[in-house]
Structure formats: C-alpha cells, structure tokens
C-alpha cells in the first residue's frame, strides 16, 4: 500500500483491570507491518501500562509488559508520555520502562523512543494525525 498516513494510538487504560491495553498493543504490533507513520501516546491511566516491575504471577494473567520493549524492533519509535498524567499519578519517567530503538543508519546506535510531552505538545501532535485509534 503506497499511502502513508500518520496513525496515533492513544492509550488511556491501565493494564490487567481490562483487556484494552493488551489488545491495543496487539494492534500496534500487527499494524507495524503496514509501514505507516506510527506513534503512541500514553495519557491518563495509560501511563500505568509502562510502569516497571509488573509481576502478574499472583493474578494468573500473562505479564505483557515486556512486549513494549519490542516496539523499537517493529520500527515504532515515537512514544509520547503526557506529563500532566504522570504528575497526577505521582509518577516520573524513572518509574517507567525505558524504551529505545536501534538506528541501523548509525551502526545500530541506541536511540530514545520515549518523549515526555506537555498537554500543549500532545494537543499539537493529536492535531497532526490522519487517524487516532482509541480502544
């Protein structure tokens, strides 16, 4: 498919309480094959998806948090975290997984995927999209 569109996935749900976070990630991973201009935004309870140290053994549910680390391999390297959402929840970037991607044009140098953005910056980014996915 020759058209390239800007697709943003807006994640606003915490993991495990509902299936939305997991099934959204499945869409992102499948969607990566379409080679579009993809970004992810983590807003509201969505920021909890990226919290480090998730351990699901006691609830009998698969821990899917390691899968986020693979996003870079799928060429998904624009990940935006809304600062206001972190602040409201008493979190900082240090509480979240550190996601990176490898730049094959620079000898596979590890580059930052995570971008902390203000509400104004996120509002601008939303306005630049062709399609906004919400689940």
């Amino acid at each position: 498919m020759s058209i390239t569109k800007r697709l943003m996935y807006v994640n606003r749900r915490a993991p495990y309480g509902t299936i939305y976070a997991l099934e959204s990630l499945e869409v992102v991973l499948i969607g990566a094959a379409f080679e579009q201009d993809v970004s992810l935004a983590f807003v509201d309870d969505g920021v909890y998806q990226l919290v480090k140290g998730q351990n699901t053994t006691g609830i009998g549910v698969k821990n899917f948090s390691p899968a986020y680390a693979a996003l870079g391999d799928y060429d998904v390297k624009k990940i935006y975290i809304e600062k206001e959402s972190l602040d409201q929840r008493g979190l900082s970037m240090d509480d979240l997984q550190h996601l990176t991607w490898e730049d094959e044009n620079e000898d596979y140098a590890e580059k930052e995927s995570m971008h902390l953005v203000s509400r104004e910056e996120l509002a601008d980014l939303l306005e630049e999209q062709d399609v906004v996915f919400s689940f």
Binding site: K5, L7, G31, A33, F34, F133
Partner: protein
C-alpha cells in the same frame, strides 16, 4: 466520503454497537461509503448468531446482518479477539476441533490487518466503544 467503523464493545451491555449502527445507517443514507465495520475486543460478540434477545427488544446482530445484506457492507470480526471469546466460523471451528460454529450471516472473521487497512483507506475512522 469513505468511513471506517470500529466497534469495541459487544451488544447490549454498552450502547457502542447501537451508536455505530445508527451512525452507519445515517452515513449510508447520506450517500457516503462505509468501507468496513471492524469488530474488536468484546465487539466480536456482535457477530454471534446464537443470541436470542427478548421479542420486544432489538436484535443487534440481525440488524447488522440485514444492513450488510442491503448495502453489501463488509463486517469483519477480529480473529484473535474472536478466538479468545469463542466466536467461530465453520473453518475456524474445524481447525480448532470445536463441535460448532456461531458466526452470523454477513460477518466474516479476519485479521487485525483489516482494521489498519481500513484506517488507511477510509477518510475517517469512527470509534465506538466504552
């Protein structure tokens, strides 16, 4: 204009599927194209033919089926979400050794790529969910 429709919730518990139906009807009535309706998450449950709602209530699955027949709509149920929730067509039932299938007329089971494809091809993606 081309619309893609995404339905994230099953019938009856949430209004999402009703809203999506009303929107789809209204868009078609205005001469727009509805390129595809994609059912994801519990939305796959819209595609079971085994629902028996009370006679004085709407039958959402049947409404989707008849709308699809009338307008040649492409109703696609996500295969991964459908497998989790027990929504099968004849081929899937056979492949997984199940004794029955339950997909309703006018629906088909396919991959998530169908959602991405319609998001790219359509002019607008409309999301109905919880």
């Amino acid at each position: 204009m081309k619309f893609g429709i995404l339905v994230n919730e099953g019938p009856y518990t949430h209004e999402a599927s009703d809203s999506a139906l009303q929107f789809t009807r209204a868009a078609l009535a205005k001469g727009h194209e509805v390129t595809r309706v994609f059912f994801y998450h519990d939305g796959v449950n819209n595609g079971t033919r085994l629902g028996v709602p009370p006679q004085d209530d709407r039958n959402i699955t049947r409404e989707w089926s008849s709308l699809a027949k009338e307008h040649e709509l492409d109703l696609v149920v996500c295969i991964a979400a459908a497998q989790r929730r027990g929504l099968l067509d004849a081929d899937e039932a056979k492949r997984h050794g199940k004794d029955a299938d339950n997909i309703a007329e006018g629906f088909r089971i396919s991959g998530l790529g169908q959602l991405i494809e319609v998001a790219i091809q359509a002019d607008r993606l409309m999301v109905f969910g919880d």
